[in-house]
């Protein structure tokens, strides 16, 4: 009987570690309603509670991933899922070039790769609304978009060259405890293709859209938020198989599922 109890405790311990490992490096983001730069009709969107990775996925973590899932190695990846620049800063299938740092954010990854990475971890990519929600916080406030200093800081980063070569965690954490949403790399979002503001959208997108090139600027809720304009513009111009030098990702997880 004692033996049995011991076994049970042992198993529980094992389970616990897996659980912790899965949610390791994530912080809880408390959802709310907010007005993103481009929302739905009603402009207010609701974000539910979710967990978010504290840091973007690093080169070292991605090395582990491709070791486990060879189909995402540079020479194996199929053209449907990634363009030619996929992992362009890698020496071979399993190693980075010597100039790259293991704890820099991984870049040159396609949306398909990023999505699969998160799913293999039991997570998913954040939606645009979730990402923007977490990213509108600064060190002290949940919605820092009204502060001039918030915008200035982000724009200063957009001007800084080669920030993707820096390492994670150098920027102070925001009020949620998340690092590097700004200041390092752009990040993939699950529904980046919901941004209909490409030049292309003028001709082929439903005319009723309030996300039109011209009308987009008029309908955007905050004309001063240049940084957000840039992010939406980037998303609007991406295709899922693109791999870019300054585009990485991080994962999130829905609450209340173990």
């Amino acid at each position: 009987m004692k033996n049995q109890a011991f076994r049970l405790i042992f198993v529980l311990l094992v389970f616990r570690t897996t659980l912790l490992a899965q949610s390791g490096g994530m912080v809880s983001i408390q959802g709310s309603r907010y007005i993103p730069l481009y929302g739905r009709d009603s402009t207010v969107v609701e974000v539910r509670d979710f967990d978010m990775d504290v840091y973007p996925v690093t080169n070292a973590e991605y090395v582990d991933f491709v070791k486990k899932y060879p189909k995402w190695q540079k020479s194996n990846v199929i053209k449907l899922f990634a363009d030619d620049s996929y992992l362009a800063n890698w020496k071979n299938d399993l190693e980075l070039k010597n100039s790259e740092k293991p704890n820099s954010p991984v870049t040159y990854v396609s949306w398909f790769a990023a999505k699969d990475y998160c799913e293999c971890e039991g997570k998913r990519l954040p939606t645009v609304d979730e990402w923007e929600y977490a990213a509108m916080a600064d060190e002290t406030t949940k919605d820092a978009r009204v502060k001039p200093s918030y915008n200035e800081q982000i724009l200063a980063w957009y001007e800084a060259p080669r920030s993707n070569e820096n390492t994670i965690g150098k920027h102070p954490e925001n009020v949620w405890g998340v690092h590097d949403l700004h200041g390092l790399v752009w990040e993939w979002t699950l529904d980046f293709n919901s941004v209909l503001i490409t030049g292309e959208s003028r001709k082929d997108v439903d005319k009723d859209s309030n996300l039109f090139c011209g009308s987009a600027a008029v309908n955007a809720t905050d004309l001063m938020n240049y940084a957000a304009f840039m992010r939406y513009a980037i998303r609007g111009s991406l295709k899922a198989k693109y791999s870019m030098k300054n585009l990485g990702f991080r994962c999130v997880k829905d609450k209340n599922e173990l």
């Binding site: 739905r40 899922f81 941004v195 001709k203 082929d204 997108v205």
Partner: protein
């Protein structure tokens, strides 16, 4: 006691193997082959090392040109590499690969759409009308819903009947939210739910060859579909 042990064993095995689906279709055959360094016999290669029968030089090992084609002939750019699960309007569970063998004309719509979709659907019908009967049997017109929550197989079936698109050449697909998002990304199609019942979306009709490779895309509403029809005819006429 024994029973508990067994259960625990099973649980730990399940945990250990817990990982996401693995796409087997993209394994590379990187076996080495041998070739004469002077290429006396052109591109000819041998399975075993030896000397060249023409110039007698020792053959060199070269890497087989990396063929990422899978055993069943799906190429790298084929949409049949997607492993997402779908339901047809007849409530059959399928994968995209099950559509292999016919030329595919695909469009993404949602049935509660009042603005662009009826015209997109009309465009599809208009294309279909221009294809001679004997080519139709090699064609599959596929309408994929971007609103998988609302567009159940029953609803898609009703929509098909209503629009006189219930023939064998028409297929309607309901996917999962993530499967639809992925498929849209393959087509470089953008969409966004702008209210509980409405979506904003790009209007693209895509033509795939029977191997699932994208051949042609027509963008816009009510545009001249001559080119699209020509591509389809070219693909279906042997």
């Amino acid at each position: 006691m024994k029973g508990l042990k067994n259960i625990l064993m099973v649980l730990s095995v399940v945990l250990a193997f817990q990982s996401c689906n693995f796409n087997k279709k993209s394994t590379v055959s990187s076996a080495e082959v041998y070739q004469c360094p002077m290429q006396c016999e052109g591109d000819k290669t041998y399975e075993k090392p030896g000397s060249c029968p023409v110039c007698n030089m020792a053959m060199q090992a070269i890497e087989k040109p990396s063929e990422k084609k899978s055993d069943d002939g799906i190429s790298e750019t084929s949409i049949f590499n997607l492993t997402s699960a779908w339901h047809t309007e007849e409530d059959e569970a399928i994968q995209l690969e099950d559509l292999k063998g016919k030329t595919l004309v695909m469009v993404m719509i949602y049935t509660s759409c009042k603005a662009a979709c009826p015209r997109l659907v009309a465009d599809m019908r208009h294309i279909e009308e221009q294809i001679p009967k004997e080519n139709i049997k090699d064609l599959n017109f596929v309408l994929v819903s971007i609103d998988p929550k609302t567009d159940t197989p029953e609803r898609l079936k009703a929509f098909a009947k209503e629009n006189l698109m219930d023939g064998d050449q028409w297929t309607f697909l309901q996917g999962t939210e993530s499967g639809v998002r992925e498929f849209a990304n393959v087509l470089a199609m953008k969409y966004k739910q702008i209210s509980p019942i409405d979506f904003s979306h790009s209007n693209i009709i895509s033509v795939f060859n029977p191997k699932g490779e994208l051949i042609h895309q027509q963008e816009g509403l009510g545009v001249d579909n001559k080119e699209t029809v020509a591509v389809i005819l070219n693909l279906t006429t042997k």
